[in-house]
């Protein structure tokens, strides 16, 4: 299983880190919509969450069944040690990519 993170995987992992104990599918989806401006489908979000769990970056636990979910449980996600390391690595890579770039970015004169 690859330890590299795709764009949606990184955004999802960050959303779980941000939401802490409230990180379940619907909350993650709302957070992604708010921060990326893209309305991901429920299936896309759970596919990503499951892939991150398969990679060992997330762990999950289920709540008691809830009436508002038609008697289904909520699955809450949390970062694992590997997930936290993957985020730090992604942050380091991003900082390295931005290093030396003067802001605000302007086009070079012709």
């Amino acid at each position: 299983m690859s330890s590299r993170l795709g764009t949606l995987e990184l955004a999802t992992l960050l959303a779980v880190a941000r939401l802490g104990g409230d990180a379940y599918g619907l909350a993650v989806r709302r957070d992604l919509a708010l921060r990326t401006g893209h309305d991901y489908s429920v299936g896309a979000v759970y596919t990503t969450l499951q892939r991150l769990e398969d990679k060992g970056f997330l762990k999950s636990r289920t709540s008691d069944p809830l009436p508002i979910r038609g008697g289904r449980s909520r699955r809450h996600f949390a970062l694992t040690g590997a997930g936290a390391r993957a985020l730090r690595e992604a942050e380091r890579r991003a900082a390295s990519l931005w290093m030396g770039v003067r802001t605000p970015i302007r086009p070079e004169p012709a």
Partner: protein, 363 residues
């Protein structure tokens, strides 16, 4: 939310992991409940249906990844049912087409210089259109035009012809009006004033002989219908701004830029990209002057009537060039002044009625 057993069982039937399906359906149910309260039942149902459809490919993918060989066979059978059996069933239920019964063609105007296909329909006895029928075409009379057996007509000159179309024992005559258009002449700019009535989109189609062509089939399109709208061949201003209008006849296309000016009493505070129209009424020798900030401007004075005193447009503090023989295109690096003055013949006492059009071109 009340559970939706049909959606539930349908999604489960795809064979996805039960936990995965529960997670997806749980989120859908939870948000459905929230949306029902906020947006009403109908909007929430629409949202639910759309989201369930959007999530279906992920459930399928989950099923493919998690199923064993038997499960995959079941899934393949389900997909085959949807893609093969349903269309076949629909085809069996719908009545079949009958044999060709008649050929239908209206008089056909050709404005193209390139070959065009004759639009002829073959119908069965129930009036249903049949496809790919192998109709053969042949020129029979009138202006000689090139017609291929498959119905491609090439009009090189103006005239009327008759083409025979046949399919077995079915025969019809198709009148062909050859009016090839070599050019469409239209003004580069079309200027409209907000509140004014709709006016014809101005253009002239010119034939291969250089004379106007009046029998035309074409299309007129507007770029931005929030600025101006088309009403048949007329254009009505909607809001100040600019867009374009495209006129297509045969295989010729021409564009005109469309500028809609908003009426104003003064040019004070004209903003970048703003279009203003200032009505003027000037007595003999009278003038009006405005100061404008640095920028690029397109200026024009339009007289209310043709036969009346002329107006002079004077600009100070800017570099101007004549544009389309009617406009001044001016660039001012600092403040500029524009003056409109009545330049009347000696003895004339008629006041000048006109409109000053100003488009500040810089953004």
């Amino acid at each position: 939310m009340r559970t939706r057993p049909r959606a539930d069982s349908l999604l489960r039937s795809l064979g996805a992991d039960r936990g995965f399906v529960d997670d997806v359906l749980g989120d859908l149910a939870e948000e459905y409940a929230l949306r029902t309260e906020r947006d009403g039942v109908l909007a929430a149902r629409c949202w639910y249906a759309r989201e369930a459809l959007r999530s279906a490919p992920y459930l399928l993918r989950n099923a493919v990844r998690r199923l064993g060989p038997r499960g995959r066979v079941r899934l393949a059978a389900l997909v085959a049912l949807v893609t093969l059996v349903i269309p076949l069933a629909l085809r069996a239920l719908l009545p079949g087409m009958g044999p060709p019964d008649r050929l239908v063609a209206a008089p056909f105007v050709v404005n193209n210089l390139d070959p065009v296909r004759l639009p002829l329909r073959v119908l069965d006895a129930a009036g249903r259109t049949l496809a790919d029928t192998g109709v053969r075409f042949l020129w029979t009379s009138g202006t000689p035009v090139s017609v291929s057996a498959e119905g491609l007509v090439t009009c090189a000159r103006i005239g009327d012809a008759v083409v025979r179309a046949s399919l077995g024992s079915l025969v019809t005559q198709v009148p062909v009006r050859c009016r090839p258009v070599a050019d469409i002449r239209a003004p580069g700019m079309l200027e409209l004033i907000l509140g004014a009535p709709a006016r014809e989109v101005p253009f002239e189609a010119v034939g291969v002989d250089g004379r106007p062509v009046t029998l035309l089939v074409g299309r007129i399109r507007i770029g931005d219908s929030s600025v101006a709208v088309l009403e048949g061949q007329r254009i009505r201003p909607i809001a100040a701004g600019h867009t374009w209008v495209e006129t297509q006849i045969g295989n010729r296309i021409t564009f005109s830029s469309v500028h809609v000016y908003g009426l104003a009493q003064s040019l004070e505070g004209v903003r970048p990209d703003q279009h203003l129209a200032v009505p003027l009424l000037l007595d003999r020798g009278e003038s009006r002057e405005w100061r404008l900030p640095a920028g690029r401007y397109l200026l024009r004075v339009v007289l209310d009537q043709d036969r009346q005193p002329a107006a002079r447009l004077l600009v100070a503090g800017a570099t101007c060039t004549l544009f389309e023989r009617t406009h001044l295109d001016c660039l001012a690096r600092g403040d500029m002044a524009i003056t409109v003055r009545q330049s009347h013949p000696v003895g004339s006492a008629t006041p000048l009625g006109a409109t000053l059009l100003v488009w500040r071109k810089d953004h």
